[in-house]
């Protein structure tokens, strides 16, 4: 009996140690990636890096201005498309929970979330690039907007579901029409959750590369015409990373550093939004 208890206690400790050890191991890659990117990236960052265009192979220096502008435009337009669309689907799902359409829409959101991003790239290529005869920033934005929809829809739905019905009734009982009630009472009350979903969505698409390969395509020059090919940070990282040239690797490290910084910033803002702008009922 005494020995039995010893063995049981021993097993207990082994399991706990194992769980803690494995958990710590999982976070090592994160640390490694962040440290490595910071180490290689910081030295690449300079004013020239931010304000100039890439230089041809063999010349040192040069920057990724084209990709910064490109990413901002592509992400901005993707967000403009996805936010109203995603929020209204989220509102529909939380307001009309029991309908057949809601059931199928929820399923669609799950499916959309699971589609490999490269497949989205193919489809947008077929829909837009092929139709318009040219790679374009717009097609990239549309691809990315599909990628960010699920997080906007889900966070909107989940936030609005938690808002007590009494709030909606308060507004309706004042003779406020339903659509104003949703727009002016319900959405503002859920703003923290919706914003955090939007920011997570942006963080997700900021680093998406696969759907841009056949849509925005990339561009060595600065372009602001959304109907033409456009550079973006992830594309620059990919193209320069797989190149054999050290100068280009430098650019890629710098771009990776900026991208990681942006994503970390958005993640932090999301946490803040969840806390600070949370509406107390």
């Amino acid at each position: 009996m005494e020995r039995g208890i010893q063995i049981r206690k021993y097993k207990n400790i082994v399991l706990k140690t194992g769980v803690v050890l494995f958990t710590v191991i999982v976070t090592l890659p994160l640390l490694l990636v962040l440290l490595y990117i910071f180490k290689r990236g910081i030295s690449a960052i300079s004013w020239d890096f931010l304000a100039n265009l890439p230089k041809p192979v063999g010349e040192t220096g040069g920057g990724i201005f084209n990709a910064l502008i490109g990413s901002a435009i592509i992400i901005g337009i993707a967000a403009l498309i996805a936010i109203p669309f995603g929020v209204s689907i989220g509102v529909y799902l939380s307001e009309f929970r029991k309908t057949k359409l809601a059931y199928w829409t929820l399923l669609s959101v799950d499916v959309l979330q699971g589609i490999p991003s490269i497949v989205i790239g193919i489809v947008i290529y077929l829909w837009i690039v092929k139709t318009m005869g040219s790679f374009s920033a717009l097609s990239g934005s549309i691809a990315l907007s599909l990628m960010m929809l699920p997080s906007i829809i889900k966070s909107t739905e989940e936030t609005l579901k938690l808002i007590p019905d009494s709030l909606k009734e308060a507004s309706l009982s004042l003779g406020v029409p339903y659509y104003r009630t949703i727009l002016k009472v319900i959405l503002p009350a859920g703003i923290s959750g919706i914003l955090s979903g939007v920011m997570l969505g942006i963080a997700r698409i900021a680093g998406e590369t696969a759907p841009l390969l056949f849509t925005a395509f990339g561009n060595p020059f600065t372009n602001t015409n959304i109907l033409k090919p456009m550079a973006s940070l992830p594309l620059v990282i990919f193209n320069y990373a797989i190149s054999p040239y050290d100068e280009w690797h430098e650019l890629a490290w710098g771009a990776a550093f900026l991208l990681i910084l942006f994503i970390l910033l958005l993640n932090t803002l999301t946490k803040l939004a969840e806390k600070k702008w949370r509406v107390q009922f």
């Binding site: 706990k16 799950d110 979330q113 699971g114 490999p116 991003s117 680093g207």
Partner: protein, 300 residues
């Protein structure tokens, strides 16, 4: 505040109806988009399906110049890479799931590791690939040398390791959720009978959450199958049927990424799209099944 004239009332009623219909329409539109995605890739795959037929799945040679479109090397490459990644990730996923869902559900450690795992999911695929090229590839090359294998550095093994890191966060978040759903009354009953935590986990938590953990792992497999950038950068891009897990290979997603913009000829492009169709169908099935299990689990 009174509204009396009928025009205003009409306007109100119109706005009301318009808004409700608009919401429903946007939901409907999402379904239509999804259906269109499926139909688009299906139709675009037809030339390849007609020209290549079933040999797409068993043909060993992929040589677009000679019009040979055998997809077996990529099918194998995709399956082996994903399953290897899954095998590597499962012990970690379950451990972290237990860590966050059972051992440390509150407090600093919990918050720290939960945020770390979330960040792990936030790092873009292309960056995993890039860092992998510089950290993991030399490491694997040394390993291969010491095993007297050809020292490629890139290959299935390298891709699988990065892939496993990338999918861990997805299975962890689901596994954590289902572990937290275990009724505390069950656990307390076991503790009150003198069970240790090890025994509670082994006899209560794991049996109770088996289907949920399975679904979490299944969904992370769905992720792995379609993951593109990191794999493309690390797998070695070889069209030859891999002979061992260190061999360079290609997955369906990485072939599409590498060859899509260069594909000349209708059948070639269509064959690449057919791989996309295959990925779409497989990941969708995995997703729907996985979500269904999770949903049933949370309702129970």
């Amino acid at each position: 505040m009174q509204v009396s004239n009928t025009r205003q009332i009409k306007q109100l009623q119109f706005g009301e109806l318009f808004f409700r219909k608009g919401l429903a329409l946007s939901a409907l539109l999402l379904g239509i988009i999804l259906l269109s995605i499926f139909i688009t890739i299906l139709v675009a795959s037809l030339p390849s399906i007609k020209a290549i037929g079933i040999s797409f799945f068993y043909g060993k040679t992929w040589n677009p110049v000679e019009n040979d479109f055998g997809g077996l090397p990529f099918l194998i490459g995709t399956l082996v890479t994903s399953i290897l990644a899954l095998i590597i990730s499962v012990p970690f996923s379950i451990s972290v799931g237990l860590f966050l869902g059972e051992y440390f559900t509150k407090g600093f450690l919990s918050v720290f590791f939960k945020n770390s795992i979330e960040l792990l999911a936030a790092i873009p695929s292309v960056i995993y690939g890039f860092v992998g090229m510089f950290i993991l590839v030399p490491f694997v090359r040394d390993l291969e040398t010491s095993l007297s294998l050809p020292p490629y550095g890139v290959g299935i093994f390298t891709a699988s390791i990065i892939l496993s890191i990338m999918i861990i966060p997805y299975s962890v978040s689901l596994i954590r959720q289902v572990i937290m759903l275990v009724p505390s009354s069950l656990k307390e009953a076991a503790y009150s009978l003198g069970a240790t935590r090890y025994e509670v986990i082994k006899n209560i938590i794991i049996p109770y959450t088996r289907s949920g953990i399975g679904a979490g792992i299944l969904l992370s497999l769905g992720r792995a199958l379609g993951e593109t950038m990191a794999v493309t950068m690390l797998i070695g891009n070889s069209q030859i049927l891999p002979t061992n897990i260190f061999a360079p290979s290609n997955t369906m997603a990485s072939v599409i990424a590498n060859e899509f913009t260069e594909a000349t000829g209708d059948v070639y492009l269509s064959a690449l799209i057919e791989m996309g169709l295959f990925l779409f169908v497989v990941t969708t099935i995995i997703n729907v099944i996985g979500r269904q299990i999770i949903k049933r689990f949370s309702i129970d």
